[in-house]
Amino acid sequence: MNARTPQEDVKIRVGYKALPGQKGDRLEERTVKPAAGDAPPWDAMTQFALVGSDVDRVDGLAKASGRAKYSYDVTFPGMLQAMILRSPVPRGKLTALELDEAARMPGVQAVVALKEVGNKVRFVGDAIAAVAGVNLHAVRDAIERIRAEYDREEHNVDYLVADDAPMVDEKGAISEDWPADEGMTAALLEAKVTHDATYRVEVQTHSSLETHGGVARWTGNDLEVWLSTQATFGCRGELARALQGKKIDVGSVTIHSEFVGGGFGSKFGAGIEGLALCLLAHAAKAPVKLMLDRFEEHTTTGNRPGALMQARGGVDAEGRIVAWDWRSFGHAGFSASGGSVAVPNYYTADAKVRRNHKDLAIDADPPRPMRAPGHPQGWFGAELFLDELAAKAGVDPLTFRLNNDREQIRQDQWRFAAERFGWAAARARANEPGARLLRGVGLSSARWGNLGNPGRPAHGITCRIHQDGTVETRSGAQEPGVGTKTMLSVITAEELGVDLKLVKATVGHTGDPSGPASGGSTVTPSLAPAARHAAFLAKQQLCELVAKHLGVPAANVTCAGGLVGLGKEQLRWAEACKLIGPNPIDVRGQRFANYDSKPFHGSQCGVQMAEVEIDSWTGFVRVTRMFGIQDCGLVIARKLAESQVLGAMIQGVSYALHEQRIMDKRSGRMLNGDFLRYKITGVRDLPELECHMHSIANGHDSVGAAGLGEPPSVASAAAIANAVFHALRAPVRHLPITPDKVLKALAQKG
């Protein structure tokens, strides 16, 4: 069966079986045409040996034992340490830069300028120069001896007073008229109930625990860089180009990134620290390590932008949304881009809809993508607006969603979540008059719309089967903690029908086949089919060897359950592999294009519910429990997939209640650029968490997997904000929901 390559049409079943407690499978038939030579598609009916089971993370022991070597941990004999001198000026021009005294300091081996005199300085933390020396003490001492002078210009780090900022009243609401639109005016006039409100979110930093940076080592003109990155191939290209631009003779550039201590969207580029590292190693003729410190991490490596958002809309007598008007203003840095906001589009199919967004420039570090870029911001504003509108219309928020949500998958998810969470009872429970502790529950939808792509040119995976029976699966893409190695191992072992222990996955070296950047939840859906194709090809070669050995036709040989052969003539896997000889079976699988036919669903749906307990004396909010149901495509490694969903919910608690970059307007400097004053959720803030993995066969490619970086990150903060609204009977329209805002909301309610 292995040699049969399906080029003809194949009928598959897509969709999902009824959720527990619900009736009716949502299964449909699709006809797909796999590419010539690709593995036959898995679908909703496929029985798996390993896929979807509770396997352990394959590199879990390396991480939990401290043996895993992150870029920060890489060391070489004679390796130097390095640091960057940062601008204390938020806006201006570099007028003098003298490096000689620093270069003469004991232990210093190289000093490079990263800006030239006359260059603009764009924010506090802009890179000026870098120093490499025998240890960080020597480097720090030398950095202090660099003389840099600046012409200072007037600066602004508050987007609400930027040139294009809208007028805002004393309550923080946008007070400028909506731009004229006759259709919108008419739709609002027809509505039975209307509402208009302004929402606001603050800047959040990615706060990856491993900071940006790495180790560079030149051998002649060949460069190797161990880099903490989410995009090995992107960084390879970026560094090669930048070094050529500096007239440095570059032979080869190889990036290594086996373990990455988090990225969350901030680590797509090698950045100025990556370039500085390579320049210093070149100048010093020695390996150099440069890792940012925590303040640099908070202030120079991007952020989730803040936003000011205004919504107005209305519902008809049946509770259907008939008008949806939205405008938002993004808190961008000096680049004046990246501040955009996304909002749900599935509630407003029949409504008059308008959306506008504008980014406002300030003199600070620009935004970078962060887990579901634009989504947690916009969903917070939109879903809280919907709850306020529903409250005005006298409709329960869940009923309101069921009336307006056009996605069948989410209709099932809403009902399932309500049942599991105990929505109706929790929502009906009233707080005792005069009670100190106020409870409330809230909900939010989620969506993410990316199910992977073939890449240009196509992404690949190497699969090798060795004569000792071990199997390698290799990708040059990186893994910032999501479980890519486990995913590759499980897919490979499933396709070959072998024990997971025989498979060794390696990622993160650009000598291996290309793969996508870890962005948009694309790595798993993009690479899983390529890994499967590679294993499928390797299996065919092994079957041919076994067929020859047994004297049977290769087309009929099967490879499953640790046996290779035909009928009663079966070789154990280990015996079959001995036929391979000293050179392994070594094939490259490919990520083919997604199937032409319409997938079951082109995006991922989710629903989350949250319960909060608020101390009305102190204003302190505690999230007591959360439930999430998440469309996960085909679940490949259950425990790891759950970890990602639960982790996203905890990050949502952090975004809803804690995180906020605070800038000093006078100096332009971040005031809380450390983990003492920039609070991320700790173990004591942990709610009771539960998630349900909603496995859906999407019929997208031969595997049908989905990534889980983005999808579960969209809803959490919105659900918590809605729970706070329910508990207080007054909305807090500004994240993070800190005690001062809660007390103010209570006081205004009276």
Binding site: Y70, F675, I680, G682
Partner: protein, 200 residues
Amino acid sequence: MTVPPDPGVSRRSFLKGSAVAGVATTGIAAVAPAAPAGPTTFGPGEHEIALQINGKERQVKVETRTTLLDALRDGLDLTGAKKVCDRGACGGCTVLVDGATVTSCMTLAMDAVGAEITTIESLSDGDAVHPLVQNFVHCDAMQCGFCTPGMVMSSLSCLQRRGKPTVAQMQQDLSGNLCRCGTYGRVMQAIQRTAQGGGK
């Protein structure tokens, strides 16, 4: 179970003259010529000290301002303990000093002379792995893994001090360890599974 007394290893104790003289006799090979009496001085520059790490004596060159974390990572290639905040705010660098958790980024290497230092590296030797580490893997109590060694060390101390800790006790003992990926729930599951004898 009772909480052991503070072993007294901190920057503060280093500042007391008597403490410096005390540690000088227990393993610091001073580069300065031996003075007949009075306190020994160190620096500027490096000198060699001996640290008791995971039951073995290790020689390492440090300056007086070198932290225990830098001595472990840069001097001895013990890179399990991570440098995350370098300010004692996140617990990523947690090791045990005389059985109690310390943030090694806030401990001077010289202050740890004479104390028994236990790092994450002591919890596995080839295939022989401490049940707690095994349970971190079983419960998938990690994602990116960068906070994990520190989490394991704080969890180990929690188990050693409390035996079968309650949720409140675990939260108390892990409250100094930050995780960005959001693994807290599973870390506590790993501790509980270890307390119940799992992972052996």
